[in-house]
Subunit: 87 residues, 2 copies
């Protein structure tokens, strides 16, 4: 399946979330990742994120699609995912 993950987490945990998601997905911009995931990987991602975030103040949204065939993407402004980035 294809997933887009967006997160709004406390600054104390933001780098941990980013570092974790990099193992599975492509970084798009601040707090956004996307990519292909298997069902098993999705479960791993959900469990991993649940361990990192504080459910009382952080939020993660996982959008899932069967594939990215019908997904179109427009970028306005600078495409940050193309530039090198250090975490």
């Amino acid at each position: 399946m294809y997933v887009i993950i967006v997160y709004d987490v406390n600054v104390e945990r933001v780098n941990q979330v980013k570092k974790f998601l990099r193992r599975y997905l492509t970084w798009i911009q601040n707090s956004v990742f996307e990519g292909e995931l298997s069902e098993a990987d999705l479960e791993e991602v959900k469990l991993g994120l649940s361990d990192i975030i504080d459910g009382s103040e952080d939020m993660v949204v996982i959008y899932r699609l069967p594939s990215n065939r019908s997904l179109k993407k427009d970028v306005l402004g600078i495409d940050k995912s193309c530039s090198s980035e250090i975490i």
Copy 2:
């Protein structure tokens, strides 16, 4: 069509982008909106955003789908889009 818009813009412009997108879409979390848009509205949104953002440092990604029928959504943590929110 159904759209998900994510943005990573300078703090100086973030409220302007948020206020503008609220006219068309539903706020989901920090820097994320989604909802149904006509082709005409999408063009208006693109033009409006292009006027607000600084293309040399801001980035907006518009994900487009024919509909939200195949789109599934999981929320981990607190669902901020359900709480009242003042801008």
